[in-house]
């Protein structure tokens, strides 16, 4: 329908805008602060000594992963239950899910490294860790469902239903794992971030981490969601093109 933009124009290339450039800069600054405080300025823990430094990336990552899940579920509900069925909600759900998978993977990896360091084991079957792993797998499944094809609305409807079923599933999984681990008398929390006594500087570093990760999350989701707009538009474009090609063919004299 329209002429594609000039390749060489960098300012309109991709999904950046003035707002995201500002946001991105702030995020990078936040990360720099986090690294400085996490690795250098914050003190070692009394019991865990240096290994507590992993907490400053592990905990913010976990919080944002859970936030991403809530956003996906909320956006899915808004898509499904509002009469307009606006695809913008669907794209937000998809973008947040993908970013959430990334953060959740990081949570699991750093959690394993921290556990190995302070407790000697990569994994414990405690409810929160296991639920995080399940959330990760559920998300991966959700992203796979988004790729099943069909029209944008079909994708949106399907995915929204799957996301909301996930909201049903996760508490059930969490509760059943908790019940299960109680059998093994694991009421004492066997994970590193359970017994960190935090002083002021440690708390500050954690807050720095949270702010930095939140900025990262927002920046990533905005870009991913815009990329989804582009994907949908490109697909629609391709479809229109194919249709008009067909019509042009059919209109040819002596054509089939």
């Amino acid at each position: 329908m329209s002429i594609p933009p000039d390749d060489t124009d960098i300012t309109t290339a991709g999904t950046s805008s003035a707002a995201t450039r500002l946001l991105g800069t702030l995020a990078v600054v936040g990360v720099a602060w986090l690294v400085a405080f996490g690795l250098l300025f914050s003190p070692a823990d009394r019991d865990q000594r240096e290994s507590v430094r992993i907490m400053y990336v592990h905990v913010p990552s976990a919080w944002l992963a859970y936030l991403a899940f809530i956003v996906t579920a909320g956006a899915s509900a808004l898509y499904l239950f509002r009469a307009a069925h606006s695809l913008a909600w669907d794209r937000l759900a998809g973008a947040s899910a993908e970013v959430g998978v990334v953060f959740m993977g990081i949570t699991l990896l750093t959690g394993m490294l921290w556990g190995r360091l302070s407790w000697g084991v990569f994994w414990t079957w405690d409810a929160r860790l296991t639920t995080t792993a399940f959330l990760f797998v559920t998300y991966v499944g959700y992203l796979a469902v988004r790729r099943l094809g069909g029209t944008h609305q079909q994708r949106a409807r399907r995915s929204a239903a799957v996301a909301l079923l996930g909201v049903l599933e996760i508490p059930l999984v969490h509760f059943s794992v908790r019940l299960w681990r109680n059998l093994h008398q694991e009421s004492t929390v066997a994970r590193p971030d359970g017994d960190v006594k935090m002083d002021g500087l440690m708390l500050f570093s954690l807050v720095v981490g949270l702010v930095a990760f939140t900025l990262l999350y927002v920046w990533l989701v905005i870009h991913r969601q815009r990329a989804l707009v582009l994907e949908d538009a490109a697909e629609d474009h391709g479809l229109e093109q194919a249709l008009s090609d067909r019509r042009a063919e059919a209109a040819l004299p002596g054509g089939r």
Binding site: F134, V140, A144, R158, L179
Partner: protein, 237 residues
């Protein structure tokens, strides 16, 4: 068979679900796919467990877990079969176009699936007793039966739900295990713990099994309702 008509001339959704369930069971009665293919598969899985574990003591101790694991694997196959019979002639679409409520289809197919699973699990239980040797104690029989029924309902509901989504298109069926297994984890945990209490394989008392029945009930209820709502969006093409 004469459908019962309400005053408006329409068939009630419950009646429709029942008819759909009967249809599925009739197909199975004629084709015997589950009986001749899935049951032997399930038994083979139990034998394979024996090979892998290589220790009679351990196998006896974990027998309840093995039964439910074999059930889960068989569930995946049964689900695919349940929707394969629809896909061949676009039967699901035909039902929808005819105005059949998605909820009826969901509950009807889940009911038929549950009936087949219940039989399969009975065979698996007998196989476990034969291969691994756990003993049934009389006090645990009620717990055993209740677990058996409740867990099966939960599995059938979840299977039907995601089966509807993944059925019929190439490149989709492989998604079924990834979607189903995480969701039925609570059933695996709850049913295994309950059966362990019923049999006493881990030294658990029968009374310790009943809280798990609560979990299984909540699970079945949650997916009965949630699945009924979600099935429509999932199968609409």
């Amino acid at each position: 068979m004469a459908p019962d008509h309400s005053a408006a001339g329409a068939i009630s959704p419950w009646r429709l679900a029942w008819l759909i369930a009967l249809k599925d069971l009739r197909i199975e009665a004629r084709s015997r796919v589950v009986v001749y293919q899935v049951l032997p598969f399930a038994v083979i899985v139990m034998v394979m467990f024996g090979f892998a574990l290589d220790d009679d003591g351990i196998a006896q101790r974990v027998a309840p877990g093995l039964i439910w694991l074999a059930t889960l694997f068989s569930l995946l196959v049964v689900v695919q079969r349940s929707f394969a019979v629809e896909a061949a002639d676009g039967a699901l679409d035909a039902l929808r176009v005819a105005g059949v409520d998605a909820v009826s289809i969901f509950l009807g197919k889940a009911l038929a699936m549950a009936a087949q699973l219940v039989v399969l699990e009975l065979v698996l239980f007998v196989t476990a007793v034969v291969l691994y040797g756990p003993r049934v104690r009389p006090g645990g029989l009620a717990l055993l039966v209740v677990t058996w029924v409740l867990a099966t309902i939960g599995l059938a509901l979840v299977g039907t739900l995601y089966g509807g989504l993944t059925a019929g298109f190439t490149g989709r069926e492989t998604l079924l295990p990834l979607l189903v297994l995480p969701v039925v984890a609570p059933v695996l945990i709850g049913a295994t713990r309950a059966v362990e209490s019923a049999l006493g394989t881990t030294g658990a008392a029968v009374s310790e099994g009943w809280p798990w029945i609560g979990l299984l009930t909540v699970f079945a209820g949650a997916f009965g309702v949630g699945g009924s709502l979600a099935f429509g969006p999932l199968i609409d093409e």
